[in-house]
Symmetry: C2
């Protein structure tokens, strides 16, 4: 119904961060890949198996200190349906370990089709009155370019199943301003307008924390806009990418939080997945290195909120 | 490199239409579903098998008269990775039968991630220098909200592998105007601005027909905007949804075509897939009914272009 469930997990772990699971083969230690290729060859299936084992190791090492994971659909689709099976298994494994799962799919379409995406990613699929969970994430990122029709079917599922969505508002990439920073004829930027739409869509889904089921994606690489939007959108919980490898630092993400130190979750993907490379440690220690980086990130961000 | 390959197929068949493959279980004749459930139960796998058999029947019945198919990713993801496997097999089957395949995924993300989506859907995936095709479509629909960074990786693959993309410009749904019709401070609408971005992105990928590798999605439900954009975007090939079930008629799509009667392909999904229901014919004749509807649609649209 809202992001209360995520916010509770953040409070329990005193850690407003999410580990992005965007596993490129380059990020995976050789011993994991070799074992997967030995079983399935250098194939989509072999790669998908390596991704799964890598993810499981990360989840095991992070689940007691990090409240959430965010698998990025593209890095699974890249390995075909076999990769998508790994996405399914990764989501199930993370949930089993008590983590909140945000599928980063940036889905968008007309109403009838969004109903299918909603069922797929955060709801359930009906097969002749038998219910099945296709992916079963707790939240999904979406793109609001199509307006309300494309959001409504998600809201129904958010309400019925206590799930959430994050709508792209101001993205972290260098060219995000080409459209998003343009001003509309009323003087508001496109991103601010999209932010206002999030507040509207989220109405009546606010939880005890005051945040609704409709969150926003706002990049750490644009701290000024992050602060502007935090003030303008009091019921909209933020998912903040762009910390770490993309250039955002802890001071850049501080404006994402409200006066109670809540209201946002900060994502790091490469920083955590590739910590073993940066540390130059034994590749078999990759999960420990990820944990050390997750702790470092947590402490750094917590210190900036206070 | 451009949409020449698609345009050639359209000319060969004298048919500027594409069959949308958005197979809901409701659309599938009982005898196909019963056989699938008998083998795999009322499960994601059973549903995915029914979808595949339904699609194959449609492709067999349409491939000599319809140049292209457009599977909508949502209706496959709904059935989990098993459904996504059916998407893969559907794409392969349609290509085997000589059809041009447009995966309707409306993907979008930052540059690094779009590289993964590009490889997944229209390119190839590299597994330790072994190349594998994950989905292998000829074209992909994408959402340009993130600007140039999110389009560039696709362009590289379009150029290298003679593929194409369709960017959402003015979508067919009722609420598409909420953002897309808003005017920017220079007086141009958001959709027109996105259309201009398509012309820029397509530059240097124009083929012999004058159309680039960057097409646009423009809905049949907004014929006025369709005509406006056709004039404004001379190198941008249009994918036009919204014909038939969504309310667009042949006269509504006429403005999508240029003075040579080219420049667009019109999609029908439900109209073709559910023709057997509308005709109230023997469900075993579903593919024949689809073919009859595809011919009717072709003739109707051709008559409006002339």
């Amino acid at each position: 119904m809202s992001f209360d469930r995520l916010i509770l997990k953040i409070k329990e772990k005193n850690n407003p961060t999410v580990a992005g699971l965007d596993p490129k083969l380059d990020y995976i230690p050789g011993y994991i890949k070799e074992e997967a290729y030995r079983q399935y060859g250098k194939t989509l299936e072999g790669a998908a198996e390596a991704l799964l084992q890598f993810n499981k190791g990360l989840i095991d090492a992070l689940c007691d200190i990090v409240p959430a994971v965010k698998p990025q659909a593209a890095y699974y689709e890249m390995y075909g349906w076999q990769g998508v099976r790994t996405l399914t298994e990764t989501i199930a494994y993370a949930k089993e370990k008590g983590m909140f799962v945000i599928t980063d799919g940036k889905r968008n379409d007309i109403g009838a089709t969004m109903q299918a995406y909603s069922a797929a990613h955060i709801g359930q699929t009906d097969i002749e009155n038998v219910k099945a969970e296709a992916f079963g994430a707790d939240a999904l990122t979406v793109n609001g370019y199509l307006g309300t029709d494309g959001i409504k079917p998600l809201l129904e599922i958010c309400k019925a199943e206590d799930k959430g969505i994050f709508v792209l508002v101001k993205t972290s990439n260098p060219s995000s301003g080409e459209l998003q920073d343009r001003k509309l004829d009323d003087g508001l930027t496109v991103y601010h307008t999209m932010g206002n739409m999030c507040e509207n869509w989220g109405r009546d889904t606010e939880g005890k924390t005051g945040y609704s089921a409709v969150g926003a994606v706002v990049g750490a690489t644009y701290p000024e806009q992050l602060g502007e939007l935090r003030k303008a959108l009091p019921h909209t919980f933020f998912l903040v990418p762009g910390y770490g490898a993309q250039g955002g630092g802890a001071k850049d993400v501080a404006p994402a939080f409200d006066k109670n130190g809540t209201g946002a979750i900060i994502n790091s993907s490469r920083g955590i997945m590739c910590a073993w490379k940066k540390e130059n440690c034994d590749p078999k220690e990759y999960a420990h290195a990820a944990r050390r980086e997750a702790i470092r990130m947590r402490d750094e961000i917590i210190s900036c909120i206070d």
